[in-house]
Amino acid sequence: MEKQYISTRNACKLCAPLGASVALKGIEGCVPLIHGSQGCATYIRRYMISHYKEPVDIASSNFSEAATVYGGSRNFITGINNIIRQYNPKVIGIASTCLSATIGEDLPGLIRDYKEANKDKELPTFINVSTASYCGSHIDGFHNTLLAAIKSLATDKLKGDYINIFPGFVSPADIRYLKEVLDDFGIKYILFPDYSETLDNEHWKDYQLIPQGGTPLSDIMRTGGAKATIEFGNVFNKGAVKSNAGRIQTAGEWLENEFGVKNYSIGMPIGIKSSDSFFNILSEISQKSVPEKHRKERGRLIDAYVDAHKYVFGKRAMIFGEEDLVLSLAGFLKEIGIEPALIGSGGNSSLLRSEVEKLFDQAEVPISVLSGSDFETMREQAEELNPDILIGNSKGYYIARERKIPLVRLGFPIHDRFGAARLHHIGYRGTQELFDRIVNALIEYKQENSPVGYKYI
């Protein structure tokens, strides 16, 4: 085994407030506020803008030296006042930072005091989430925000014939697809967080201070009265805060414990088998068979698997990204005969290896599973593993370039290609798109590297 490094070299993760910001953009009428230094908000805005190519307004309480020493309550109050004056939002979602968490800012207390001091006014709803960036990564920030919103808002006062669907950190295109599928089944649903419009909007005539779209507050409140929840993932935020007393729960688990909402927790549906699980649950819930449109998409996907099987079989892939994403990808690659030579994540839940072992017999293929890892470690391993293809976010590009092999981009961030918000990879249709891209990347590689200019491959 090669040297283990103390430092993180080219991180394969981002900080928790970024995940919180993405999730908060999925709430209708919400302006996120990051309680910390100005840079946190600006960096996260820049990072999200480069991926989604949309305006991303995130406010900051802009900590100064004085705020750090004496507490940030004044900045907090000014910040909230100015957000209300500039944006007049329905919701202000407040995420903490390593700075505000370390100096012990009491966000719930600050919110309580603000409400008390302004009780004669009509105020936005406040949601707050603790996202110190030394606890977990962006994906923990994402899931913890869901949990925080639901814990503070959900009730079971109104029960109804609808389900909750929490797809996790997927693309706007994935979210739009999920809505279509649920509509086709005739299932009423609450999808949270829904940033399918806020982070992939149409062109505007006039600037919208708060982009349209998002899960309405009233819907988040009703999640407690749903007849079931479907959430995508195996790892979620479960490994986030190891030192935290009490178990971290997913939003779906919490709703089940608190209000008895049946929770279906399934891996992100990439590939036929995991999409089948998803569609079967929908059939079970709706008591309807899979609509013909989707049955045919499944059929075409199988047909494509068959037609392309020789291009992909036996190829070795290195996959990286959030733990739940790479787990689903590994399952999908197994279906088509690509060996995941390396499964890497910056996430460090300590669950990745055991989840991979559930997917693969140990003898099946030697898989290097790297959790809490970084790109430099993966790059060094790639020298020995010699993969044929990389699959993951765009930050792995430099490894693909060095090794002169293709990178199929998916996940977050994608900073060097256009249309990241429209990349679709879940369900039969999304798997089809992803499969086509992988097959074509391998064909292109073969064609480009062949001395013969083949016109048929």
């Binding site: 230094s37 030296e65 909230i80 500039q86």
Partner: protein, 441 residues
């Protein structure tokens, strides 16, 4: 203008006689969604292009992740600066202190990469948990025999501009530590970051004039050159917001004079070459500069005229990091027939803004430390066609149907020098004339 927050009203002014002086150099207002970043960001962007140094960020992962390979600063040799290193502090480090982790990280990374120097950036919480980074750096420098320089950059200790100062202080620790034979006519180039290879364009000009470029700080920068920077005869400073402080310190300590220049637009580019020639009082140099400028003018003017005829009447909004650059942009735009109707910057000074007021047509909006709400209103009020800014302004412009030109540090097109002026004209033309706007009206 009721969309402007009360506390910010004085940070917006208008060009023209008898108008109020703008307020600037203020902390950003909480909740205003400033386009600025933090102290750490300021120091990081300035030091980032030093290609043979190790840049290690001591803090939780975000600060390192968001600044990985952030600028389009090119290197003609080593590319160590393009890697992102972090101590990735975890909760237990925050509780028990992060110094052991820092020591281990410095040790392993210096052994692995053999850098010529190491910059150790401290971030927000390091300032709070009280790690003694300074003494750790000192000890590591002794052990490894290279400069290990703490860059004290907790984000909350001011604005991005304060971060520039922190970077200058770090650089100044290197200056004067090596003495190499240095030719008489030698300059340091300060404040060019070799975005898209812009520095190499400038080097070519200076070479033609017979001037030796000693240290480039920090574009395509090397530690050894910076250590020897005090042996140059002149500091030529662009992006003065970030680098003026270093020039001042070098003047005080080593008596090196400095001059402020801009390489954007043919007017300012030419002035930069003439000013350097005048400084050295060399007729030969001046003749060569004039020759070079004449040649470039003859080549460029007919092409620029072509653009001007087509772009006449277009209106532009400028919102960039430093105001001195904005001044060059106003002139460059005028050259191709584009009128500037809004000018703003994140970190401009009173003098910069006063100069802008004089330069612009009456009624032009001038703004310091603006935000999306203001910018979106301004461009509408002023009927701007084109926006010149950075990555955070792009979606604002595009979303409401304005053309956009990226003039920030992530750009991949060289915009400095004569060649850069042509690229600039081409880019403005391409964005203004695209047929896609027919669908957005």
């Amino acid at each position: 203008m009721d969309y402007i927050l009360k506390e910010r009203e004085k940070q917006v002014a208008f060009a023209g006689i008898n108008t109020a002086t703008i307020e600037c150099n203020k902390e950003s207002l909480a909740g205003s969604v400033s386009q600025r970043a933090c102290v750490f960001c300021g120091s990081r962007v300035v030091l980032y292009p030093i290609a043979d140094a190790l840049h290690l960020i001591h803090g939780p992962i975000g600060c390192a992740a968001y600044t990985w390979d952030i600028r389009g600063s090119l290197s003609s040799g080593p590319e160590l600066h393009r890697l992102s290193f972090s101590t990735d502090l975890q909760e237990r480090d925050v509780i028990f202190g992060g110094i052991d982790k820092l020591n281990a990280a410095m040790e392993e990374l210096i052994d692995l990469h053999h850098p010529k120097a190491a910059f150790i950036y401290t971030t927000c919480i390091v300032g709070v948990i009280g790690d003694d980074v300074e003494s750790a750096c000192k000890q590591m420098a002794l052990r490894k025999g290279i400069p290990v320089i703490p860059v004290q950059a907790p984000g909350f200790q001011g604005s991005k501009k304060d971060g520039y100062k922190v970077a200058c202080e770090a650089l100044f620790q290197l200056v004067g530590t090596i003495n190499k034979p240095t030719p008489k006519y030698s300059i340091n180039i300060l404040g060019d970051f070799n975005l898209a290879g812009e520095l190499w364009i400038l080097l070519e000009y200076y070479k033609k004039m017979g001037i030796h470029v000693n240290a480039t700080i920090t574009g395509d920068g090397r530690v050894e050159d910076i250590c020897n920077a005090h042996n140059a005869s002149l500091n030529v400073v662009q992006c003065s917001g970030s680098m003026n402080y270093l020039a001042q310190m070098m003047k005080k300590e080593y008596g090196i004079p400095s001059m402020r220049v801009s390489y954007f637009g043919i007017e300012d580019m030419s002035d930069a070459l003439y000013d350097v020639a005048s400084f050295f009082k060399s007729e030969e140099m001046m003749t060569k500069a004039k020759e070079l400028v004449r040649e470039e003018f003859t080549r460029l003017m007919p092409q620029l005229k072509w653009y001007k005829e087509r772009l006449q009447g277009k209106k532009a909004a400028i919102y960039v990091g430093g105001a001195f650059k904005a001044i060059s942009l106003i002139k460059a735009l005028r050259l191709i027939g584009v009128q500037t109707v809004i000018v703003g910057s994140q970190t401009g000074t009173t003098e910069d803004y006063e100069l802008i007021k004089k330069l612009c047509d009456e009624g032009t909006i001038i703004v310091d430390d603006s935000n999306p709400v203001e910018l979106s209103h301004f461009v509408k009020e002023k009927h701007a066609d084109i926006f010149i800014g950075g990555v955070k302004e792009r979606p604002i412009a595009h979303k409401i149907g304005l053309g956009f030109c990226d003039h920030n540090h992530e750009r991949k097109e060289a915009l400095a020098g004569y060649e850069g002026m042509m690229n600039f004209a081409r880019e403005i033309y391409a964005t203004a004339m695209s047929p896609v706007w027919q669908f957005t009206k």
